[in-house]
Symmetry: C2
Subunit: 351 residues, 2 copies
């Protein structure tokens, strides 16, 4: 019997979500014995189908159940049959906000053998971690609309940033930077235009940075950062940024590191006052759902992050290594289905 | 004597601004006779030096003088010796807002012979125009800070979007799309999170689109758009987006089209109630200022846009062609100084 039992909430969600989550779980089960772990799974049918059936996105009772779990694995949410934003805000963002996932952790790493759209780069050139704020900034939903549908309509969106919220994410980013060989932290913002929020980030970087003299810091406007991601990705080691800028730059990050099929993420509550949630960066991709075409690698790498989060470092490294080996051989393996990729990686971790 | 005289305001600005503007003017003077044009230039010493001397960014009296001009050519503003945002907001954005430059027009075009950081793309793959809103959205400066410097600080930034402002820029984008062979217009926003502003853009696209049945429309979240810029730039013909998203995606656009040294832009007041302003997308690059290293091509292409704006299409095409020819030969020409590039292009347009 495994010595440690983990309560795992699974939210397969919409589109390709269930397919990729199935492979993630396959790998998790395969690696569990090596870490002496057992996962007690509860699956939650949240997403488009539930919304159509009941009008619910995330009922309070389900949210309370989620709070009682140790960790959450999410596939993807969103479907064209549901008005844009309904599930994203009502389910995904609500979970991030309610469970205080103030760190949205997104590694951007080019694995050997993976094709990048950039010419002349090698895996050494692309190896960074983006620490995206997850609970404030332009994602608060604060704002509104006046005189809707008239020629005098005004629609506003407010970015709300607090010393409390900025300090904790910046501190987390310093910790990540301090643990890495290069020890470099770049703040990405737009402080020449968004002066109030940018100034708060800048002052916080400076103040918290005084406690981390071993970490070098610099600053990059978000527009320039996107350019450097494409032209000079070597510039970056750890990046800290707000919710919206983080959303944008991690998609470029995914693009340069071989595509959204490989990009993993963690919605982390570092204080562990509620369970953290791990999910691939990609969406529900309804156009390819149910065809066994989706690449489950991003979900499997998210499982590795989940393992890290629960302290199962050995198992996490095993999964990462298996993915890395699988990616290195991929060219030779030809086109494989979602399940074939999952099987191959599961086999490697259990071997 | 030239049959048409144009009042041209020149704002060389900071860093490499004066160097690249000198080359832009050289080309403008060289091409002028072919269009039977004469430029009556007034130069304005705005920027870091003026701010240090007098504390002024853009005095009201200068703004009034600018209003009396036909068109403006700007180099770049910003210097590390001036607090971030001071010149950007006080000079550049103030000009855009006061002169109602509601269209920030930014072509993204890969010229033959230009090296792009993307593997496997040809000039046919990258040929789009971004129509960035210029006078509202997150750039209004609305927002503030409460309890600054305390653990209870709150900093806000507000994106303000109006039916008036959105409709006019969307309409302009439809006009641009209708004039191009592909006739495709993509709205880039983040309507699943910024629901109020996104919805206003979406409804406006639909309503105005009814008047342009020949133009196909689609929608792309800003995060996905950045990924497609890198992975599938062919997807885009004309893009319409808000001020902040436009700022970000046009820098990726510059990166994929060969770098910021080539990216031109126009801050356009299509109603001609005030002069429009043309400027390279790049900044003042203080690190290379005064060394004759800056590439003036972005400024020269901005001059071509300026010529288009004043109706001198023939001269505009001449400048564009000269730049295109120069770029095609660049590999063979070796490293050239700012002035050498300007000279070469000036020679071609006057030839
Ligand atoms: C679906 C959407 C709300 C979400 C976000 O914007 O955070 C997604 O793009 C992501 O990056 O996880
Ligand atoms: C300098 C800055 C205010 C400006 C902007 O954000 O618009 C620049 O980045 C640009 O794109 O022209």
């Amino acid at each position: 019997m495994a010595s440690r039992s983990i309560r795992l909430a699974v939210i397969p969600g919409d589109g390709i979500g269930p397919e990729v989550v199935a492979e993630g779980l396959k790998v998790l089960e395969a690696v569990a014995p090596s870490g002496d772990l057992a996962f007690e799974q509860t699956s939650y049918d949240l997403g488009a189908a539930r919304w159509h059936r009941t009008g619910e996105t995330l009922p309070d009772s389900v949210l309370e159940e989620l709070r009682g779990q140790d960790v959450i694995l999410l596939g993807a949410v969103g479907d064209p049959s549901v008005p844009s934003g309904t599930l994203e805000r009502g389910l995904l963002l609500r979970t991030r906000f309610e469970l205080d996932h103030y760190v949205n952790l997104r590694p951007v790493k080019l694995f050997p053998g993976v094709k990048t759209p950039l010419a002349d780069v090698t895996p050494d050139d692309i190896d960074m971690v983006v620490v995206r704020e997850g609970t404030e900034g332009p994602y608060t939903g604060v704002g509104g609309v006046l005189r809707k549908g008239t020629p005098h309509e005004v629609a506003t969106q407010e970015s709300v940033n607090t010393a409390f919220g900025v300090e904790r994410v910046v501190r987390y980013a310093f910790e990540v930077a301090a643990s890495r060989p290069r020890k470099k932290l770049t703040l990405v913002h737009k402080d020449n235009v968004l002066t109030f929020a940018g100034d708060l980030y800048q002052r916080t970087l400076k103040r918290v940075g005084a406690e981390y003299p071993q970490v070098g810091t610099d600053y990059c406007h978000v527009d320039a950062a996107t350019m450097f991601f494409v032209g000079q990705p070597q510039r970056f080691d750890v990046v800290v940024t707000d919710n919206l800028f983080g959303d944008i730059i991690t998609d470029i990050g995914a693009a340069i590191a071989g595509g959204i099929g490989l990009a993993a993420s963690g919605n982390v509550n570092p204080d562990r006052t509620a369970p953290s949630m791990f999910e691939p960066v990609h969406g529900s991709a309804p156009d390819i759902a149910g065809q066994g075409k989706a690449d489950p690698t991003a979900t499997i790498l998210s499982v590795a992050m989940l393992l890290d989060h629960i302290g199962a470092d050995g198992a996490a490294r095993r999964v990462e290594q298996a993915v890395s080996d699988d990616l290195a051989e991929r060219g030779a393996l030809g086109t494989r289905s979602t399940a074939q990729i999952g099987d191959a990686i599961a086999k490697r971790v259990s071997g």
